[in-house]
C-alpha cells in the first residue's frame, strides 16, 4: 500500500491536522484557505469537531477556548480574515494556550482572489506569535503535527502561513502516521493567566517577551530552516517559504555557485544568518511580499558590524509587490550578478504579460453565472434607484456586479452597510442602496445594519440571499439550516434577525420576479430610515446540483429588433451578432427567465419540447 498520494495543498494541510491529532477545528471560508475545513468536514469518519464559524474573530476565539481546555485546536482563514480576528490574536499572545493551537492564515500574493496582499508574517512580528512559512505542500503537511507539538511545548498559539501556490498547488504527498492520543478537555481556573485585566496583562507582557528567545532557539534548529554553505561561494541566497523553491530553481538554471539559506520560521534562524554572513560577500534575499526577513538580516548585519552587501526589496531589485516566481528570481540574480539569461531573451521578458501576441485577444474576466439571481437584483436596483444612485457593495460573487454598475465600493467583509451609512451621515443627497450577500451579512453585516438602524441612516440594504457562501465554494452558513458537515441545525431567519434589530422595513422577494422586485424596491426607496430588501433565490450552481431544472429560453429572430436590452444584462448565455444585429441565447441558458421578462417585444420565449 503506497503512502504517497497526489493532493491539493489545502487537502495536505487537512491531512496534517489529522496526523497531528487536531480536535477542534473552526474557520471562516476565504480563498485560498477554504478547502482545509471543507476536507475535514467532508470526511465520512472523524474523531474531531469541525465547524464553519460565522466569522474569523469567532473562529479564532472558538479555537482559543478549546485550547484553553488543553485540547489541540485549529482556526483557519485567509489573510484579511486575520484583521477581523486581530483583537483576540494580540491578547491571546499574552494568555498563551494550554493545549495546542494553530492559526492557519492563507496569504494571497498577487491578489488572485483578494482585496489586498498583506503579509501575515507582519502579524507574527506584531503579536510576537511564531509563524511557520511552508515552501511546498509536503512541508505544509509536515509542519502541522510539528506546530501542534511546538505550541504545546511553549504554550503559545502558532501562526501557519501558506500562500496561494501552496494552498492551491498540488503535489505528491508522503503521508505520515496519525497521532493517537487525545488530551481530554479540562479547563483549570487560573485567573492570572486567563483573565486579562490590566494587573494580569502587566504580568503576561514581560513573560511573552521573555519566551521569545527560547522560541527562537527552538525554531532555529527545526527542520524548516537549513543552510547549505557552498565551497568558495561569495554569494549567499536567503529565501523564505515558497520563494525558496523559486530561488533554488533560478540558482540551478543560472548555474550559480551560491550558499543557500532556506527559511521556514519566524522568528528567524539568526545563527544561520550570521554564519552565512561570515561566509559570503553578498546576500540576496527572496521572500513573498514584505521584506520581513530582509529587515531582520539588516538588523543582524548592523549588530555584528558585518559589511556584507544585502540585496532585497528595500532598495531593489526584488519586487515588493505581487507574487514571485522562478523568472523574477532568475532576473534578479542575472541583474545583481551581471549574468545573461540565455533561456529568455530580454525582449520576451519585457513583453510578458502586456503585449502577449500580435493578435488582439478579447478580455475574459470572471463573470456571474448564466441565470445568477444577483444579475436580476442588480438590474432592478439600478432601475429603481437610478444610475446616479450610490451602490456600496461587499465581498462575494456579487462583487462581479462591478460590470453592471451596481458596485461602487468594496472595502472589506461587511463594509457595504457601514460605508453606505457613513455616506448618508456625511450629507450625501443621492439615493444610497447597498448590497451584501447572506454569508457576508452573517459575518459582519449584522453589526453594520444594527448601527445603521440605531443611528437612523436613510439607506436601503439589499441582502442578496443565494442561500450559500458561493464564491468560496458553497460553504453552509447560519441561514441554511445546515452545518459544515451537512448535518441539520437551526435555520436563522434573516427577516426575524433584521426585525429584531429594529428594522421597520423588511421585505423578501424572488429577484427572478422583476415586477414584484421593482415594486418592493420602490417602497424601500420611499421608506424613511434603513430599509432592508432580501432578494432570495438559490445560487444557480446549487440549484443545478439539487436537481432544479428550468426550461431554457430562446429568442425569435423575427421578433428581435436588436435593442440590446437583454444583452446589457451581461448574461453569458445571451449573445449578440454584430452583423445581423440580433440577439440569441446559447446552450448555457439556465432558464431564469429574466431576459424574457425584460424584452419589450416578446421575442424571448421558453423552449418548447
Amino acid at each position: 500500500m503506497s503512502t504517497r498520494e497526489y493532493m491539493l495543498g489545502n487537502v495536505a494541510i487537512a491531512r496534517g491536522i489529522v496526523e497531528g491529532g487536531g480536535q477542534v477545528i473552526s474557520g471562516y471560508p476565504g480563498t485560498p484557505s477554504s478547502e482545509v475545513i471543507g476536507t475535514l468536514a467532508g470526511m465520512k469518519e472523524r474523531d474531531f469537531y469541525v465547524e464553519w464559524s460565522v466569522n474569523e474573530k469567532v473562529a479564532l476565539e472558538v479555537a482559543a477556548g478549546a485550547a484553553m481546555t488543553g485540547v489541540r485546536s485549529v482556526a483557519t482563514m485567509k489573510h484579511v480574515g486575520l484583521n477581523v480576528a486581530a483583537d483576540p490574536l494580540l491578547t491571546l499572545a499574552y494568555t498563551g494556550v494550554k493545549g495546542s493551537m494553530i492559526i492557519i492564515v492563507a496569504d494571497d500574493p498577487s491578489c488572485h482572489s483578494s482585496q489586498n496582499e498583506q503579509d501575515t508574517r507582519r502579524y507574527s512580528q506584531f503579536s510576537l506569535i511564531p509563524c511557520l512559512d511552508p515552501s511546498t505542500p509536503q512541508e505544509a503537511k509536515d509542519m502541522i503535527p510539528y506546530a501542534f507539538e511546538f505550541s504545546n511545548k511553549v504554550q503559545m498559539p502558532i501562526i501557519f502561513r501558506p500562500t496561494t501556490r501552496i494552498s492551491h498547488g498540488k503535489s505528491d504527498i508522503e503521508l505520515g502516521p496519525v497521532e493517537e492520543t487525545r488530551p481530554a478537555a479540562e479547563f483549570v481556573k487560573e485567573l492570572e493567566r486567563w483573565v486579562m485585566v490590566p494587573k494580569n496583562a502587566r504580568i503576561q507582557h514581560p513573560h511573552l517577551l521573555e519566551i521569545q528567545k527560547t522560541m527562537q532557539e527552538e525554531l532555529e534548529n527545526s527542520p524548516w530552516n537549513s543552510l547549505e554553505l557552498a565551497d568558495g561561494a561569495k554569494v549567499g541566497v536567503i529565501a523564505s517559504g515558497i520563494a525558496s523553491v523559486y530561488a533554488k530553481e533560478a540558482v540551478i538554471k543560472q548555474g550559480i555557485n551560491a550558499s543557500f539559506l532556506k527559511i521556514g520560521t519566524c522568528p528567524l534562524p539568526e545563527n544561520k544568518i550570521r554564519t552565512l554572513m561570515e561566509n559570503t560577500e553578498k546576500i540576496i534575499i527572496f521572500e513573498e511580499m514584505e521584506p520581513v526577513v530582509e529587515e531582520q538580516v539588516r538588523i543582524i548585519a548592523q549588530e555584528t558590524g558585518s559589511s556584507v552587501e544585502i540585496i532585497g526589496k528595500l532598495q531593489g531589485p526584488v519586487p515588493r509587490i505581487y507574487e514571485l516566481n522562478t523568472d523574477i528570481c532568475a532576473d534578479v540574480l542575472a541583474e545583481v550578478l551581471e549574468l545573461e539569461r540565455p533561456d529568455v531573451p530580454a525582449e520576451v521578458a519585457e513583453d510578458f504579460d502586456y503585449d502577449r501576441c500580435r493578435i488582439d485577444l478579447p478580455m475574459r474576466p470572471p463573470v456571474m453565472c448564466p441565470g445568477c439571481s444577483h444579475r436580476a437584483s442588480f438590474h432592478v436596483m439600478k432601475k429603481v434607484y437610478g444610475k446616479d444612485a450610490i451602490f456600496p457593495s461587499d465581498i462575494g460573487c456579487y462583487t462581479l456586479g462591478i460590470q453592471s454598475g451596481t458596485v461602487d465600493t468594496t472595502l472589506c467583509m461587511g463594509g457595504s452597510i457601514t460605508v453606505a451609512s457613513g455616506m448618508y451621515q456625511a450629507g450625501e443627497k443621492k439615493p444610497i442602496c447597498c448590497s451584501i450577500g447572506d454569508s457576508t451579512f452573517f459575518h459582519t453585516g449584522v453589526n453594520g445594519l444594527l448601527n445603521s438602524i440605531y443611528n437612523n441612516a436613510d439607506i436601503t440594504v439589499t441582502i442578496v440571499d443565494n442561500r450559500t457562501t458561493a464564491m468560496t465554494g458553497h460553504q453552509p452558513n447560519p441561514g441554511m439550516g445546515k452545518l459544515a458537515t451537512g448535518e441539520p441545525t437551526v435555520e436563522v431567519s434573516l427577516e426575524e434577525l433584521c426585525k429584531s434589530m429594529g428594522a421597520g422595513f423588511v421585505e423578501t422577494v424572488d429577484p427572478y420576479d422583476l415586477e414584484k422586485t421593482e415594486e418592493v424596491f420602490k417602497r424601500a426607496k420611499e421608506y424613511e430610515g434603513t430599509s432592508v430588501v432580501i432578494t432570495r433565490q438559490f445560487c444557480v450552481i446549487d440549484a443545478k446540483r439539487s436537481g432544479i431544472r428550468r426550461k431554457p429560453f430562446t429568442i425569435d429572430a423575427e421578433e428581435c429588433v436588436g435593442c440590446k436590452l437583454c444583452v446589457n444584462l451581461g448574461c453569458p448565455a445571451i449573445e449578440f451578432d454584430t452583423t445581423t444585429k440580433k440577439a440569441s441565447i446559447n446552450a448555457m441558458c439556465t432558464g431564469c427567465g429574466v431576459c424574457a421578462a425584460l424584452c419589450k417585444f416578446d421575442a424571448i420565449t421558453e423552449v418548447k419540447k
Binding site: R4, E5, Y6, L8, T31, P32, H112, S113, T136, R165, H168, G169, K170, S171, D172, I242, V245, Y246, K248, E249, I252, K253, N325, T326, D327, A330, D343, V344, V348, A349, F352, R356, C357, R358, I359, D360, L361, P362, M363, R364, P365, P366, V367, M368, C369, L400, Q403, M471, T472, K564, V567, N568, G570, C571, P572, I574, E575, F576, T578, N586
Partner: protein, 198 residues
C-alpha cells in the same frame, strides 16, 4: 524545455473556467504519482473560475515549485483557441501546442464589446512559431458521447507526449470521472490519443 535537475516534463493547460481543466490536470498528476514520479501543479481557483481564463501548470518529475517559467513548457494544452495564444509565452521554442479549435466566446464578445479573432488566424499565428496539433475536440467529445468529455479528449491527445504509460492514464480517467460516464470518457481519451498519433 524541462531541464535536467529541475523537471522531467512541464505542461501548461489553458482554458476557460468550467471546461474541466482541473480534472484534466488531476488525471495527469495522479497518473504520474502512480508511476512513482514526483509532481508539482498549480491551479486557478476562486474568483477566476467564473467563466474566466484559467491556467494550470503541471511539472512531472519535479521537486521544486509548481510554476513553470516562461518558455519552459514542453507542451501547451489549450482547451480553447484564444487561450492558447494568451499563455503562449510559457511554451518553449521547441514545444508543441495541442489546441481545441472550438471557441468559447467571453461575455466581452457576446455583448459586442470586443471581437473574437478568427480561429484560422489564431492557428496560423501559433504555427508561425511552434508545432501545432489543432482539432475540434468538442466535436470528438460529442462523438464519444458527451461534449463535457472534451477535457478527457485533450488528455488523450497529450498522452502521446507525456512520460506516463497510456494504461496508467486510462486507469486514472476511470478513477476520476463520474462512474456513469466512464465509458464515454475512456472513448474520449482514445479518440484524442489517435488524433495526435503519428
Amino acid at each position: 524545455m524541462s531541464a535536467e535537475g529541475i523537471s522531467k516534463f512541464d505542461l501548461v493547460i489553458a482554458g476557460v473556467g468550467g471546461q474541466g481543466t482541473i480534472l484534466a490536470s488531476d488525471i495527469i498528476g495522479k497518473a504520474a504519482v502512480k508511476e512513482n514520479m514526483s509532481v508539482r501543479a498549480a491551479e486557478t481557483h476562486g474568483m477566476a473560475q467564473r467563466g474566466g481564463s484559467v491556467v494550470n501548470h503541471i511539472r512531472i518529475g519535479c521537486e521544486l515549485g509548481s510554476m513553470i517559467p516562461m518558455k519552459g513548457a514542453d507542451v501547451l494544452l489549450a482547451l480553447e483557441p484564444s487561450e492558447a495564444l494568451r499563455y503562449l509565452e510559457f511554451l518553449s521554442d521547441d514545444g508543441t501546442i495541442i489546441v481545441n479549435t472550438k471557441p468559447i466566446l467571453p461575455v466581452t464578445v457576446t455583448s459586442g464589446l470586443c471581437s473574437y479573432p478568427d480561429v484560422d488566424a489564431i492557428i496560423a499565428k501559433l504555427e508561425e512559431t511552434h508545432k501545432v496539433k489543432a482539432f475540434n475536440a468538442t466535436e470528438l467529445a460529442k462523438e464519444a458521447g458527451h461534449p463535457q468529455s472534451m477535457n478527457v479528449v485533450m488528455v488523450g491527445a497529450v498522452s502521446n507526449y507525456l512520460p506516463i504509460s497510456v494504461d496508467t492514464l486510462v486507469g486514472c480517467v476511470r478513477d476520476l470521472v463520474p462512474p456513469k460516464t466512464i465509458d464515454i470518457n475512456v472513448k474520449a481519451f482514445e479518440m484524442g490519443m489517435y488524433v495526435t498519433q503519428g
